[in-house]
């Protein structure tokens, strides 16, 4: 099986990640932040070190700002439901995943959608700026689209937010561990990250990094603090970690970050983009292939590419490829907005998302199968 669905989850986890999970299962079995015995403190310390790693990697402003959760979707929900009020105005992009669109649509009354320009970031920023109102509380946008791969100009949008006194939240599901993100430099207040994609950690790892407070708790329960109090305080990070956190997964996340750093985030990205660019060039030579974005230039696109075979539903193409040993995702990718933008709400698209372990010959094989089909 040739796995080209890394945008869903990274298909190959490094041995170091697997070993870290295994070690945690064997040697870090105590619940962190609950008891005071040696085993609990040892596990607590190990978790703390991963918080520090995450914060350092993303410019998060300290371990205390790092919340571990099951996935990036939950992180987005914590931001939306913990920060926003019904009367707030929020701006999102027209490429947002449902993880951002759905909680915001449920929470606020006043939502606007800014158009992303694939070829000119200045126009994208202008489109966000045009929508700002006196009661705009937040811009919440993706770092990179899970359907088109388009990378948004985070630093420019962050600068806009700072000038206007607006909170800036970013969905980095497709970008965490793929392109460098520095919250401080980009003026990002809340960063939602998937541990199991570019950071190569197990599924079940997500992170919220909050450089600004979150006013309300979202899920309440036991968190090892203030047990005699009925009401849980929204104090980072434990105020947002009700229940037992997944220590083995968190250790896997720490190992994943180490792997990406040691290998070099830029080197990994360049390899993946080399494959995507090769695929784009070859697909654009095939008559009945529809492509939806301009050529994916480096640092303008993440290694994600959508296409269709003319006249075929994307799921049909994905199924055909699966029968030929190639794993891609067809359909709508949990992103109604992106498919509205591409006008693919009838067919969806076939999404290819290679990793650095994929090869040129695997890309060429995909192309050869598409030519036959």
């Amino acid at each position: 099986m040739i796995y080209f669905d890394n945008a869903a989850t990274s298909g190959v986890k490094p041995i170091s990640v697997i070993k870290a999970v295994d070690n945690a299962l064997k040697n870090l079995s105590a619940n962190p932040g609950r008891a005071g015995h040696k085993a609990a403190l040892m596990t607590s310390f190990a978790v703390y070190k991963v918080r520090e790693k995450v914060s350092d990697f993303f410019g998060g402003g300290g371990a205390q700002n790092v919340v571990f959760c099951a996935n990036c979707t939950l992180a987005a929900n914590f931001v939306v439901k913990g920060v926003l009020n019904f009367e707030d105005h929020v701006i999102i992009s027209d490429l947002e995943h449902n993880a951002v669109l759905r909680p915001i649509a449920k929470t606020v009354d006043n939502l606007d959608i800014a158009e992303v320009c694939f070829s000119d970031d200045a126009i994208t920023v202008e489109n966000f700026e045009k929508l700002i109102k006196p009661n705009t509380k937040m811009i919440f946008c993706t770092a990179a689209s899970n359907v088109t791969g388009k990378i948004l100009p985070l630093e420019k949008i962050g600068k806009l937010c700072k000038e206007k006194g607006i909170l800036f939240a970013v969905d980095a599901a497709q970008a965490g561990g793929v392109i460098p993100i520095d919250m401080e430099k980009m003026n990002i207040d809340y960063l939602c990250v998937a541990g199991h994609k570019g950071l190569l950690a197990p599924m079940g790892t997500g992170v919220l990094i909050a450089r600004k407070p979150i006013g309300r708790t979202v899920i309440e329960g036991g968190n090892g603090i203030d047990s005699l109090e009925v009401f849980q305080l929204p104090i980072l990070p434990e105020g947002f970690e009700s229940g037992t956190i997944s220590v083995p997964d968190i250790m896997g996340l720490g190992a994943g970050i180490d792997y990406v750093k040691n290998r070099g985030i830029e080197k990994i990205y360049e390899k993946e983009m080399f494959l995507i660019k090769r695929l784009y060039r070859k697909l654009s030579e095939i008559k009945n292939i529809i492509l939806y974005t301009p050529f994916p230039e480096i640092y303008e696109f993440a290694p994600v590419l959508s296409f269709n075979i003319s006249g075929k539903h994307s799921e049909e193409t994905a199924d055909f490829l699966d029968k030929n040993g190639i794993a891609v995702r067809g359909g709508f990718h949990c992103s109604k907005l992106a498919h509205n933008k591409l006008k693919t709400t009838d067919t969806g698209t076939v999404r290819v998302s290679p990793s650095f372990v994929n090869t040129v010959s695997e890309i060429d094989y995909l192309v050869s199968i598409l030519k036959k089909g």
């Binding site: 962190p32 932040g33 008891a35 005071g36 403190l41 607590s44 310390f45 703390y48 918080r51 300290g62 371990a63 205390q64 090892g224 603090i225 203030d226 047990s227 005699l228 109090e229 104090i235 990070p237 434990e238």
Partner: protein, 68 residues
């Protein structure tokens, strides 16, 4: 003389320990329930100048619940 500063969460207790150790103290973490009326918390335990330690922690945005 040994001092204990009670801090709510384990994360902040570990941060406090790191900060104090980085400022020349030898701090350790322990669980503190008897002196903490809300039920559950952690303390950093150390010898030395407690007033200086508190100032260092407050300047680093570590909330102090109680000093013992």
């Amino acid at each position: 003389m040994e001092h204990k500063i009670v801090i709510g969460s384990i994360t902040y207790a570990l941060k406090a320990k790191d900060i104090l150790n980085g400022n020349g103290y030898k701090a350790h973490i322990e669980r503190k329930t008897s002196e903490y009326k809300n039920g559950c918390g952690y303390a950093v335990k150390f010898d030395g100048d407690v007033i200086r330690a508190k100032e260092i922690l407050l300047n680093s945005n570590v909330k102090i619940i109680k000093t013992i």
